[in-house]
Amino acid sequence: MSDVASPETTVSAPAATGHTAAAHPPTTTGLTHNKLAMWLFLGSECLLFGALIATYMFAKSRLPAGELGPNDVFDIPFTSVSSFVLLMSSLTMVLALSALNRGEERNFRVWIVATALLGGTFIAGQVYEFTVFYNLGLGYTTNIFGSAFYTLTGFHGAHVTIGIVMLMSTLVSSVRGRLSPRNAETVELIGLYWHFVDIVWILIFTIIYLFPQ
Protein backbone atom coordinates (compact mmCIF):
# COMPACT_ATOMS: atom_id res chain seq x y z
CA MET A 1 0.00 0.00 0.00
CA SER A 2 2.82 2.32 0.75
CA ASP A 3 3.40 3.33 -2.79
CA VAL A 4 -0.20 4.11 -3.44
CA ALA A 5 -0.60 6.07 -0.31
CA SER A 6 2.60 8.03 -0.61
CA PRO A 7 1.18 11.16 -2.22
CA GLU A 8 -1.13 11.74 0.63
CA THR A 9 1.39 11.14 3.37
CA THR A 10 2.95 14.42 2.50
CA VAL A 11 -0.33 16.14 2.66
CA SER A 12 -1.37 14.91 6.04
CA ALA A 13 2.08 14.87 7.53
CA PRO A 14 1.70 18.09 9.50
CA ALA A 15 -1.35 16.77 11.20
CA ALA A 16 0.17 13.43 11.85
CA THR A 17 3.32 14.62 13.50
CA GLY A 18 1.60 15.87 16.59
CA HIS A 19 0.35 12.38 16.96
CA THR A 20 2.80 9.97 18.49
CA ALA A 21 3.26 8.03 15.31
CA ALA A 22 1.45 4.75 14.90
CA ALA A 23 1.18 4.02 18.60
CA HIS A 24 -2.45 4.97 18.46
CA PRO A 25 -4.93 3.74 15.96
CA PRO A 26 -6.10 6.45 13.68
CA THR A 27 -9.63 6.78 14.91
CA THR A 28 -11.43 10.05 15.42
CA THR A 29 -11.32 9.87 19.18
CA GLY A 30 -7.97 8.15 19.34
CA LEU A 31 -9.56 5.23 21.12
CA THR A 32 -9.82 1.85 19.52
CA HIS A 33 -13.25 0.68 18.47
CA ASN A 34 -13.07 -2.23 20.86
CA LYS A 35 -12.34 -0.14 23.88
CA LEU A 36 -15.04 2.38 23.11
CA ALA A 37 -17.51 -0.42 22.50
CA MET A 38 -16.60 -2.11 25.75
CA TRP A 39 -17.20 1.03 27.75
CA LEU A 40 -20.49 1.61 25.98
CA PHE A 41 -21.44 -1.92 26.89
CA LEU A 42 -20.49 -1.31 30.51
CA GLY A 43 -22.49 1.91 30.55
CA SER A 44 -25.45 -0.09 29.37
CA GLU A 45 -24.84 -2.74 32.02
CA CYS A 46 -25.20 -0.07 34.70
CA LEU A 47 -28.85 0.20 33.81
CA LEU A 48 -29.21 -3.59 33.80
CA PHE A 49 -27.78 -4.14 37.25
CA GLY A 50 -29.43 -0.97 38.49
CA ALA A 51 -32.80 -2.41 37.56
CA LEU A 52 -31.99 -5.70 39.24
CA ILE A 53 -30.80 -4.05 42.43
CA ALA A 54 -33.81 -1.73 42.49
CA THR A 55 -36.08 -4.71 41.96
CA TYR A 56 -34.43 -6.48 44.86
CA MET A 57 -34.76 -3.48 47.16
CA PHE A 58 -38.37 -3.08 46.24
CA ALA A 59 -39.13 -6.77 46.60
CA LYS A 60 -37.52 -6.87 50.02
CA SER A 61 -39.62 -3.93 51.16
CA ARG A 62 -42.74 -5.82 50.08
CA LEU A 63 -41.88 -9.08 51.81
CA PRO A 64 -44.83 -9.98 54.03
CA ALA A 65 -44.01 -10.23 57.71
CA GLY A 66 -43.21 -13.72 58.89
CA GLU A 67 -41.83 -14.86 55.57
CA LEU A 68 -38.29 -16.16 55.34
CA GLY A 69 -36.20 -13.03 54.88
CA PRO A 70 -32.59 -11.86 54.66
CA ASN A 71 -32.08 -12.00 58.41
CA ASP A 72 -32.99 -15.65 58.46
CA VAL A 73 -30.51 -16.80 55.88
CA PHE A 74 -27.60 -14.40 55.45
CA ASP A 75 -24.23 -15.45 56.81
CA ILE A 76 -22.31 -12.19 56.75
CA PRO A 77 -18.87 -13.51 57.77
CA PHE A 78 -18.97 -16.08 55.00
CA THR A 79 -20.10 -13.63 52.35
CA SER A 80 -17.51 -11.14 53.56
CA VAL A 81 -14.79 -13.64 52.82
CA SER A 82 -16.08 -14.39 49.34
CA SER A 83 -16.49 -10.66 48.67
CA PHE A 84 -12.91 -10.17 49.67
CA VAL A 85 -11.88 -12.98 47.35
CA LEU A 86 -13.61 -11.30 44.41
CA LEU A 87 -12.10 -7.96 45.32
CA MET A 88 -8.62 -9.44 45.31
CA SER A 89 -9.25 -11.05 41.94
CA SER A 90 -9.41 -7.51 40.59
CA LEU A 91 -5.89 -6.96 41.89
CA THR A 92 -4.57 -10.10 40.25
CA MET A 93 -6.32 -9.04 37.06
CA VAL A 94 -4.51 -5.69 36.87
CA LEU A 95 -1.25 -7.42 37.76
CA ALA A 96 -1.82 -9.84 34.89
CA LEU A 97 -2.37 -7.01 32.47
CA SER A 98 0.59 -5.14 33.77
CA ALA A 99 2.76 -8.25 33.35
CA LEU A 100 1.56 -8.69 29.81
CA ASN A 101 2.30 -5.06 29.05
CA ARG A 102 5.86 -5.64 30.19
CA GLY A 103 6.01 -8.79 28.09
CA GLU A 104 6.39 -11.09 31.08
CA GLU A 105 4.40 -13.93 29.66
CA ARG A 106 5.00 -16.33 32.53
CA ASN A 107 3.89 -13.86 35.17
CA PHE A 108 0.93 -12.99 33.05
CA ARG A 109 -0.19 -16.61 33.03
CA VAL A 110 0.29 -16.95 36.75
CA TRP A 111 -1.81 -13.89 37.49
CA ILE A 112 -4.51 -14.88 34.99
CA VAL A 113 -4.75 -18.32 36.56
CA ALA A 114 -4.90 -16.69 39.97
CA THR A 115 -7.70 -14.39 38.82
CA ALA A 116 -9.67 -17.25 37.36
CA LEU A 117 -9.13 -19.29 40.51
CA LEU A 118 -10.28 -16.46 42.75
CA GLY A 119 -13.31 -16.00 40.53
CA GLY A 120 -13.92 -19.73 40.70
CA THR A 121 -13.69 -19.60 44.47
CA PHE A 122 -16.25 -16.86 44.54
CA ILE A 123 -18.61 -18.86 42.35
CA ALA A 124 -18.06 -21.94 44.49
CA GLY A 125 -18.89 -19.84 47.53
CA GLN A 126 -22.04 -18.65 45.84
CA VAL A 127 -23.10 -22.18 44.99
CA TYR A 128 -22.45 -23.19 48.59
CA GLU A 129 -24.41 -20.20 49.85
CA PHE A 130 -27.35 -21.01 47.57
CA THR A 131 -27.33 -24.59 48.80
CA VAL A 132 -27.37 -23.48 52.42
CA PHE A 133 -30.20 -21.03 51.77
CA TYR A 134 -32.14 -23.68 49.95
CA ASN A 135 -31.75 -26.06 52.84
CA LEU A 136 -32.95 -23.33 55.17
CA GLY A 137 -36.14 -23.31 53.13
CA LEU A 138 -35.51 -20.43 50.77
CA GLY A 139 -36.20 -21.66 47.26
CA TYR A 140 -36.48 -19.58 44.11
CA THR A 141 -40.26 -19.65 44.30
CA THR A 142 -40.61 -19.52 48.07
CA ASN A 143 -41.32 -15.84 48.31
CA ILE A 144 -40.66 -12.53 46.68
CA PHE A 145 -37.36 -12.09 48.51
CA GLY A 146 -36.13 -15.46 47.30
CA SER A 147 -37.00 -14.70 43.69
CA ALA A 148 -35.36 -11.29 43.76
CA PHE A 149 -32.27 -12.43 45.67
CA TYR A 150 -31.52 -15.43 43.48
CA THR A 151 -32.19 -13.46 40.31
CA LEU A 152 -29.86 -10.63 41.24
CA THR A 153 -27.02 -12.74 42.56
CA GLY A 154 -27.62 -15.28 39.81
CA PHE A 155 -27.20 -12.63 37.14
CA HIS A 156 -24.02 -11.51 38.82
CA GLY A 157 -22.77 -15.07 39.11
CA ALA A 158 -23.46 -15.65 35.43
CA HIS A 159 -21.40 -12.58 34.61
CA VAL A 160 -18.53 -13.86 36.75
CA THR A 161 -18.75 -17.25 35.05
CA ILE A 162 -18.54 -15.71 31.61
CA GLY A 163 -15.59 -13.69 32.85
CA ILE A 164 -13.84 -16.87 33.95
CA VAL A 165 -14.45 -18.42 30.54
CA MET A 166 -12.90 -15.41 28.88
CA LEU A 167 -9.92 -15.47 31.24
CA MET A 168 -9.33 -19.11 30.43
CA SER A 169 -9.54 -18.28 26.73
CA THR A 170 -6.77 -15.72 27.07
CA LEU A 171 -4.74 -18.27 28.96
CA VAL A 172 -5.14 -20.74 26.11
CA SER A 173 -4.18 -18.04 23.63
CA SER A 174 -1.14 -17.19 25.67
CA VAL A 175 -0.07 -20.80 25.92
CA ARG A 176 -0.47 -21.16 22.18
CA GLY A 177 1.77 -18.15 21.81
CA ARG A 178 -0.81 -15.89 20.29
CA LEU A 179 -0.72 -13.21 22.93
CA SER A 180 1.83 -10.46 23.07
CA PRO A 181 2.09 -6.96 24.49
CA ARG A 182 0.95 -5.70 21.10
CA ASN A 183 -2.48 -7.10 21.58
CA ALA A 184 -2.66 -6.59 25.30
CA GLU A 185 -5.76 -4.56 24.67
CA THR A 186 -7.84 -7.71 24.44
CA VAL A 187 -6.77 -8.60 27.95
CA GLU A 188 -7.33 -5.04 29.07
CA LEU A 189 -10.92 -5.21 27.86
CA ILE A 190 -11.55 -8.52 29.58
CA GLY A 191 -10.09 -6.86 32.65
CA LEU A 192 -12.55 -3.99 32.32
CA TYR A 193 -15.37 -6.46 32.23
CA TRP A 194 -13.94 -8.29 35.21
CA HIS A 195 -13.58 -5.15 37.28
CA PHE A 196 -17.06 -4.10 36.35
CA VAL A 197 -18.41 -7.36 37.67
CA ASP A 198 -16.39 -6.67 40.78
CA ILE A 199 -17.85 -3.21 41.35
CA VAL A 200 -21.32 -4.62 40.88
CA TRP A 201 -20.53 -6.97 43.71
CA ILE A 202 -19.28 -4.07 45.80
CA LEU A 203 -22.76 -2.61 45.44
CA ILE A 204 -24.52 -5.88 46.02
CA PHE A 205 -22.46 -6.72 49.07
CA THR A 206 -23.24 -3.43 50.77
CA ILE A 207 -26.83 -2.97 49.68
CA ILE A 208 -28.03 -6.53 49.91
CA TYR A 209 -25.95 -7.98 52.68
CA LEU A 210 -24.72 -5.19 54.93
CA PHE A 211 -27.57 -2.70 54.98
CA PRO A 212 -29.49 -3.18 58.21
CA GLN A 213 -32.39 -5.41 57.32
Binding site: T20, G43, M57, L87, S90, L91, T206, I207
Partner: protein, 127 residues
Protein backbone atom coordinates in the same frame (compact mmCIF):
# COMPACT_ATOMS: atom_id res chain seq x y z
CA UNK B 1 -9.30 15.53 -11.73
CA UNK B 2 -8.39 19.07 -12.51
CA UNK B 3 -8.46 21.95 -10.21
CA UNK B 4 -11.81 23.60 -10.19
CA UNK B 5 -12.08 27.30 -9.82
CA UNK B 6 -14.17 28.20 -6.91
CA UNK B 7 -15.42 31.30 -5.31
CA UNK B 8 -14.11 31.82 -1.80
CA UNK B 9 -16.50 30.63 0.78
CA UNK B 10 -17.84 32.83 3.44
CA UNK B 11 -16.09 31.04 6.15
CA UNK B 12 -17.75 32.75 9.05
CA UNK B 13 -21.08 31.56 7.88
CA UNK B 14 -20.28 28.06 6.89
CA UNK B 15 -17.56 26.73 9.02
CA UNK B 16 -18.98 25.71 12.31
CA UNK B 17 -16.90 26.21 15.39
CA UNK B 18 -14.76 23.18 15.87
CA UNK B 19 -16.10 20.79 18.36
CA UNK B 20 -14.28 21.19 21.59
CA UNK B 21 -14.86 17.71 22.81
CA UNK B 22 -13.15 16.00 19.96
CA UNK B 23 -10.36 18.45 19.86
CA UNK B 24 -9.34 17.71 23.37
CA UNK B 25 -8.99 14.07 22.84
CA UNK B 26 -5.69 13.93 21.12
CA UNK B 27 -4.02 16.18 23.63
CA UNK B 28 -5.45 14.42 26.54
CA UNK B 29 -4.45 11.15 25.14
CA UNK B 30 -0.94 11.22 26.40
CA UNK B 31 -2.18 10.77 29.90
CA UNK B 32 -3.04 7.22 29.00
CA UNK B 33 0.56 6.28 29.11
CA UNK B 34 0.96 6.84 32.78
CA UNK B 35 0.29 3.30 33.77
CA UNK B 36 0.28 2.95 37.50
CA UNK B 37 2.94 0.65 38.82
CA UNK B 38 2.23 -2.72 40.35
CA UNK B 39 3.11 -1.28 43.70
CA UNK B 40 0.36 1.29 43.33
CA UNK B 41 -2.09 -1.43 42.41
CA UNK B 42 -1.24 -3.36 45.54
CA UNK B 43 -1.65 -0.19 47.56
CA UNK B 44 -5.11 0.33 46.10
CA UNK B 45 -5.98 -3.26 46.86
CA UNK B 46 -4.89 -2.77 50.45
CA UNK B 47 -7.10 0.29 50.75
CA UNK B 48 -9.98 -1.68 49.28
CA UNK B 49 -9.37 -4.46 51.74
CA UNK B 50 -9.34 -2.02 54.61
CA UNK B 51 -12.55 -0.38 53.47
CA UNK B 52 -14.20 -3.78 53.19
CA UNK B 53 -13.03 -4.64 56.69
CA UNK B 54 -14.58 -1.39 57.94
CA UNK B 55 -17.82 -2.23 56.20
CA UNK B 56 -17.97 -5.70 57.64
CA UNK B 57 -17.20 -4.30 61.09
CA UNK B 58 -20.45 -2.34 60.98
CA UNK B 59 -22.28 -5.62 60.88
CA UNK B 60 -21.26 -6.42 64.37
CA UNK B 61 -23.09 -5.01 67.35
CA UNK B 62 -20.46 -2.47 68.35
CA UNK B 63 -21.49 0.22 65.86
CA UNK B 64 -25.20 -0.20 66.10
CA UNK B 65 -25.60 2.55 68.61
CA UNK B 66 -25.02 4.90 65.68
CA UNK B 67 -28.58 4.49 64.58
CA UNK B 68 -29.82 3.30 61.23
CA UNK B 69 -29.49 6.57 59.35
CA UNK B 70 -25.83 7.03 60.27
CA UNK B 71 -25.15 3.39 59.55
CA UNK B 72 -26.68 3.69 56.08
CA UNK B 73 -24.68 6.82 55.43
CA UNK B 74 -21.45 5.22 56.56
CA UNK B 75 -22.03 2.12 54.46
CA UNK B 76 -22.93 4.15 51.39
CA UNK B 77 -19.82 6.26 51.76
CA UNK B 78 -17.60 3.19 52.10
CA UNK B 79 -19.30 1.55 49.15
CA UNK B 80 -18.89 4.59 46.95
CA UNK B 81 -15.24 4.87 47.94
CA UNK B 82 -14.58 1.27 47.00
CA UNK B 83 -16.48 1.74 43.77
CA UNK B 84 -14.47 4.80 42.84
CA UNK B 85 -11.14 3.19 43.69
CA UNK B 86 -11.80 0.19 41.48
CA UNK B 87 -13.13 2.27 38.62
CA UNK B 88 -10.42 4.89 38.79
CA UNK B 89 -7.43 2.63 39.26
CA UNK B 90 -8.18 -0.89 38.21
CA UNK B 91 -10.44 0.13 35.37
CA UNK B 92 -8.00 2.87 34.55
CA UNK B 93 -10.69 5.45 34.08
CA UNK B 94 -8.70 8.04 35.96
CA UNK B 95 -6.09 7.95 33.24
CA UNK B 96 -8.29 7.28 30.27
CA UNK B 97 -10.11 9.37 27.72
CA UNK B 98 -12.75 11.75 28.93
CA UNK B 99 -15.20 10.22 26.47
CA UNK B 100 -15.08 6.89 28.27
CA UNK B 101 -15.60 8.61 31.58
CA UNK B 102 -18.62 10.43 30.24
CA UNK B 103 -20.18 7.29 28.84
CA UNK B 104 -19.77 5.40 32.07
CA UNK B 105 -20.88 8.27 34.25
CA UNK B 106 -23.91 8.76 32.01
CA UNK B 107 -24.87 5.15 32.61
CA UNK B 108 -24.44 5.43 36.36
CA UNK B 109 -26.21 8.75 36.67
CA UNK B 110 -29.15 7.60 34.56
CA UNK B 111 -29.42 4.37 36.50
CA UNK B 112 -29.26 6.18 39.84
CA UNK B 113 -31.75 8.78 38.66
CA UNK B 114 -34.47 6.60 37.27
CA UNK B 115 -34.29 3.85 39.86
CA UNK B 116 -34.14 6.19 42.84
CA UNK B 117 -37.15 8.06 41.50
CA UNK B 118 -38.93 4.76 40.96
CA UNK B 119 -38.20 3.55 44.48
CA UNK B 120 -39.20 6.93 45.86
CA UNK B 121 -42.49 6.70 44.01
CA UNK B 122 -42.98 3.37 45.76
CA UNK B 123 -42.16 5.07 49.06
CA UNK B 124 -39.85 2.30 50.17
CA UNK B 125 -37.57 4.61 52.11
CA UNK B 126 -37.94 4.48 55.81
CA UNK B 127 -40.30 1.55 55.45
Amino acid sequence: MTQTPSVPTEAAEDVQPADAETEDVAAEHDAEHEHPSDRQYVKVALILGALTALEVATYFESVHHLGDAALYALLVVLMVLKFIYVVAWFMHLKFDSVILRRIFVAGIVLALGVYLVMLTAFRIWGA
